[in-house]
Amino acid sequence: MTNIAKFALDDDSLVVIIGSGAGGGTVANELAQKGISSVVLEAGKRFTLEDLKNNEWEMFMKLSWLDKRISAGGWHHSKNHTNLPAWIVKGVGGSSIHWAGVSLRFKPHEFKMKSTNGNIEGANVADWPVTYEEVAPYYVKAEHKMGVTGKATDTPDLPESSHTKLHRIAAERTGMTFTNAPMAINSVPNDGRPACQQIGFCMQGCRIGAKWSTMYTEIPKAEATGLCEIRPNCMVLKIEHDKSGKATGVLYVDKDGNKKLQKARIVCVAANSIESPRLLLNSASEMFPDGLANSSGQVGRNYMGHVTGGVYGVFPEPVNMHRGTSVPSLITSEQANNPERGFVAGYTLEVLSLGLGFLSAFLKPGTSGWGRETAEALENYQNMAGVWICGEDLPVATNRITLHPTEKDQHGLPVPVITKTDHNNDVVMRNHAYSQMAKLYKSVGATKMHNLPAYPSSHNMGTNRMSEHPSDGVVNKWGQAHDVPNLFISDGSQFVTSAAVNPTLTIVALAIRQADHIAGLMKSGQV
């Protein structure tokens, strides 16, 4: 590239974007394509494809956000994943390096769960201030941007693997609904990136770039316009504002430990659902004593992952689940909202392979996961097949991100505490999923099943939610803060509810839509 942008710290005409993942990276490129200049501040480093190896633990160490976090509340992470509530990436490209590529739209009813089910005790369910119909055109744009396989872009599905075949036949035998997953992984060469070679290790970063990630799509495209400057290794400490309550700039620390203030016309926060609310809380001031944009008190609240867990069946003959894409297919029979099952909302069963390294850690997390039974289970690795449960997690006000009163991180910022306890709906749903999986796997000869509790969460949502009224949430239907008109939330923290599907496609669709809105506001001089 010949024309990489370099902007001055006192340039106050810029959009400053915090985070470079599915949300931030997409907003940056969408704005750049419209001629709008931005600086992207990314806490992590820049990786190259050569850095991405086919090794689970090596990549875990290389990519993960490992700054100190504390798990609290009733979920098993408080005991078993004490300092790793979430499994997300620190690097240019963010968690779009790690995601598996599953690209499902929310269903229309999943934007209005309160109207659908009424009040649910112990939960803070609300309708989104935006409807499926309003988002649908942006889903189309997102699917084309990301090259989603199948009907979405009229491209072939990825080829069938043994892992998929087992689930397809099991679904046929049990009357469940099976589908190849719509994936943001090229089944044919597309957008200058090659077709998938069925390498596996999708979640360790795609070594050949067949999977969409902002790391090698949106980010370099934005840079190529000469209108976007990416600053890696820059951790944002605080968003500053003026007397009128408008954001004026962002204080950050660069790779050499120097504190710098980047001025801004608009600030977009896209640091994932733990860091985004943490930053707002850390930006408290005399004018905003409870944190920036937090007059509703909702910043950090309604933290959602997905109702989840893993199920691994053991079969009489080899499956070799590790061959091919990590998530090749889906069982979708339980996606509907059908309270007759004893719970509201739905779930998707996503076929998911783990390697031997991760399986040894997650098969039975906690201090008792050793011994002859565990060793024997692992000896059956080759004969195993597995799914990951992706169920709608209810928003609960007390499931939240807070700042630790005394513990500080390497930058002197209070460490985030992630408090979460299952709602009873979550428990009933998870057990329903385990029992459906037992039916499914028995139909194809399973000799044994292992039910795994939730992994550290890669789907993190809801901590700066949208709302129609400023008293109910943090941002409006465009992701614009109710309290601070030139502050936007561009990641999954703006989600109102979590749906029964992976969040990335919706994050990207909302980011494209938000960029359109920002461009309009800038043009008309409203911000």
């Binding site: 190896k53 086919n54 078993n80 046929e172």
Partner: protein
Amino acid sequence: MSNNDHSTSRRKFLKNTGIGVAGTIVASTLSVTGSVAEEAKNISLPDSPHVSKTLLKMAKDIYPHEMIQNKYYQKIVDDLAKQQKRLIDEGVAMLDEQSIAKLGSPFLQVNYEPDRVRLLRSIEETTFFIKVRTALMFGLYDNPELFPLFGYQGSSVEKGGYLNRGLNDLDWLSE
């Protein structure tokens, strides 16, 4: 990836285990990670044969695999005993003390497996046990040399993935 890279990453993980993916077994080691570097300076060789033999016996109770030769277990626990000499020496002494108190002889001389396992269960939350178990978990299951024994094929990118290499060869289920 070379073996060298691999063991570096594993060491790095072990050093950083406080961040906790493998759960408490990993998270609880946080309290001792601070002393790793300090202890590394104080390595004193040779190892005690008793410590080495006791750790091997313990290792084979933690993750018993007939198919894995002793030398693999031995190297993992001996490396750990060198890296964290004081913790391991004290841990083995504690294990023997409890073994004598509960079973009448040092751990190495307890022949009945269920007795040994019960004893190990009673100390499974100690830092000593967690350190040994974590080292074994990475040393056995994140070790490309041992992958073939489990039918796991590890890295595939250098072989062109599985697109034309057994992606869909499952033939034991009828449609």
